[in-house]
Amino acid sequence: MGVLITPAMVGQVVISGLLAGSIYAMVALGLGLIFGVMRVLNVAHGPLMMLGAYTTFWLFQRFGLNPYLSILLSMPLLFLVGLGLQRFLVRRVVDAPELSSLLLTFGVSIALVNLAQLAFTSDLRSVEYLTGSFVVGPFALSKPRLAACAFAVAITVASFVFLRLTRLGKAIRAVSQSREVAQVCGIDVQRIHLLAFGLGSALAAAGGSLVAVMVAIQPEMGQVYTFKSFLVIVLGGAGNYPGALLGGLLLGLVEQLSSLFLTAQVNEAVAYVLLVLVLLIRPTGLLKGRV
């Protein structure tokens, strides 16, 4: 009952993996920002993404707004939500041991999911906007996935430009490297923390908006992405921003290849086994991470 695997099949799957990986990378960058700047492991990252997806859904449903345009609204909205969470809750666990931030954000995450269940019900939603694919040779390039990848790449590139070239971006990187020294240099660390959490949430929201066209939207949809984002940042090196990119693409590839050569059932396990192996050889991730 085995199917002969041809190079064309592998190629198709590699394409799918990279397309999916680009979204993982963007969302994980958000998580990475939060961790890098504040050493907070944000378990609520998935629910933030879910809220982004719902925003896109409701804007599409009520106003017929193009889901890709709705990113312009979902990102700022969740940026504000992130600011609020940071200001009132997360701020208190910034210096605490990781248990506190894990638990706190977990509490926030189940509260958010429950609120979504109350507000939106658990009914599955989806945005039917773009379906089908472009055929290029033997490969089918899924239209929604291509579009999602394009936007994810654009947003990620913009984020890196921001981090590298703008003053605020440099300030963020400075705080990631050493908070004390950044403070001494006159950087308002509290403000940077707020900004980082807001940006991280916005990136998660963008991810949610992009996948709203592809998957079923329901309150618990974010959980899977939380796990994957954690995996990605640890794989790539916690606190290392380009590492998140590498990790995201790698995860996307690994998932698809293991589904092809083995079965889809084990691709979660394969990803985590890869993680443990990487950590054994390079305990701070593929690219050098910070703890």
Binding site: V3, T121, G132, A140, P144, R145, M214, Q218, L260
Partner: protein, 399 residues
């Protein structure tokens, strides 16, 4: 001092009034008997909240109907429902509570096979008859249990219709995929059996984890195997993703059928044109010529202001079947009721009912539907159908 005449009167009347009150409060004296309490835990919240709530509504309509017709054994019927949050462990605890603390007279089944399986251990322990209207997995009924009864068609038979239609048209190969949880696995296994019986070859059979959203690798493998039929044991969200990705990867079987998800109106709402030609299977549909359908639909829509699903119909029928057995047995005694349920052979608003000695359902039929022009058309079996299947499914590019 001599008592006033009023006081003397009062003293004389007191015992009379007291006796009267005591007589009136005796059970049965004023026709006010204790109601029959039927208990169940339902998935009010959690993963199965939607179908669970439909099932509960079915129970509600049944109880209303029983009470409107004079109750059961001359007593009113009351439903006691707890929320098991779609968790088997919680449901087990709640059924213990219902039976040992709330001391309910009878129990009805919860939602989902997994929860029913866990709860069956409790009901067997206390020898309480349980009609489990939404338990679809054969294994639950093959463990030597005596007090559990099945109402719906087993999971294994969900796609019998698809295979039957395919074989009749001379199709030879089938690919089977399923979510890796209890019910879809059972339906996949049953479908594979059915295919082999009809002389078809299963070219691929693979499971995917719950929550999987990217099916490219799986579909790429399927495309390479090029089956005539794709049968998928799904729930709802995976059904949507698979259908969309089939279009993206241009996978074109001659027939594509789903278990759960294909029958819901939301399937078309979410997929629109892309849902056309897809076959779904359902335990029940409003249009089927079953007795009591119209009354059920009217009562349900009036009470809940929306359409019932098959979960509602199954809950409703299951509860009525139990009540019927109690009536025939003339008592709530578990063994007597059990005897009746084993003997009964009937057709309700939900469909046919007949069980084997272990409570396993053998008469109820699944029907296959196909989406045609935005409507669900029943295409199989012939005696219940109201339209012909559009066959073969045209390629994605040619629609």
């Amino acid at each position: 001092m001599a008592m006033t005449s009023l006081k003397r009167l009062g003293k004389g009347l007191a015992p009379v009034v007291l006796a009267g009150v005591m007589l009136a409060s005796l059970p049965g004296a004023a026709g006010a008997q204790t109601p029959i309490k039927i208990g169940a835990s339902m998935s009010v919240t959690g993963t199965y909240a939607k179908p669970g709530s439909y099932q509960k509504e079915g129970y509600d309509v049944c109880i209303d109907e029983l009470n409107a017709k004079g109750g059961l054994l001359g007593r009113k019927v009351e439903l006691v429902i707890y929320d098991d949050q779609s968790q088997p462990a919680t449901a087990v605890k709640l059924y213990e509570k219902l039976i040992t603390e709330d001391k309910v007279d009878a129990v009805m089944g919860p939602y989902s096979s997994a929860v029913s399986e866990a709860v069956a251990n409790v009901t067997e322990k206390y020898k309480k008859v349980m009609v489990a209207p939404l338990a679809a997995t054969t294994s639950i009924f093959k463990k030597g249990r005596k007090y559990i009864f099945m109402v719906i068609t087993p999971a294994e038979n969900y796609l019998d219709g698809l295979i039957d239609m395919a074989a009749k048209r001379g199709l030879k190969t089938v690919a089977i995929i399923n979510e890796d949880t209890l019910f879809p696995k059972a339906s996949a296994a049953g479908t594979a059996e059915a295919a082999k019986k009809h002389g078809m070859q299963v070219v691929l059979q693979e499971a995917y984890p719950k929550g999987n959203t990217d099916f490219s690798a799986l579909l790429v493998k399927i495309k390479a195997a090029n089956p005539d039929v794709i049968a998928a044991g799904t729930y709802f969200d995976d059904a949507i993703a698979i259908t969309r990705q089939m279009k993206e990867l241009n996978v074109n079987p001659k027939m594509f059928g789903l278990t759960v998800g294909g029958d819901l109106p939301e399937f078309y709402d979410l997929l629109k044109q892309n849902a056309e030609y897809v076959y779904g299977s359902t335990q029940w549909d409003e249009s089927l010529p079953y007795p009591g359908q119209k009354e059920f639909l009217a009562a349900y829509k009036k009470k809940f202001k929306h359409e019932p699903s098959y979960h509602s119909a199954a809950g409703y029928a299951g509860c009525l079947l139990y009540a019927d057995a109690v009536r025939k047995a003339g008592s709530l005694d578990a063994d007597k009721v059990r005897e009746q349920l084993l003997k009964m052979e009937t057709r309700t608003a939900f469909g046919d009912y007949k069980v084997e000695p272990d409570g396993f359902q053998v008469a109820h039929k699944m029907v296959m539907l196909q989406w045609q022009d935005g409507k669900r058309v029943i295409v199989w079996p012939d005696d219940l159908s109201n339209g012909k299947p559009r066959y073969p499914t045209p390629e994605w590019g040619k629609r």
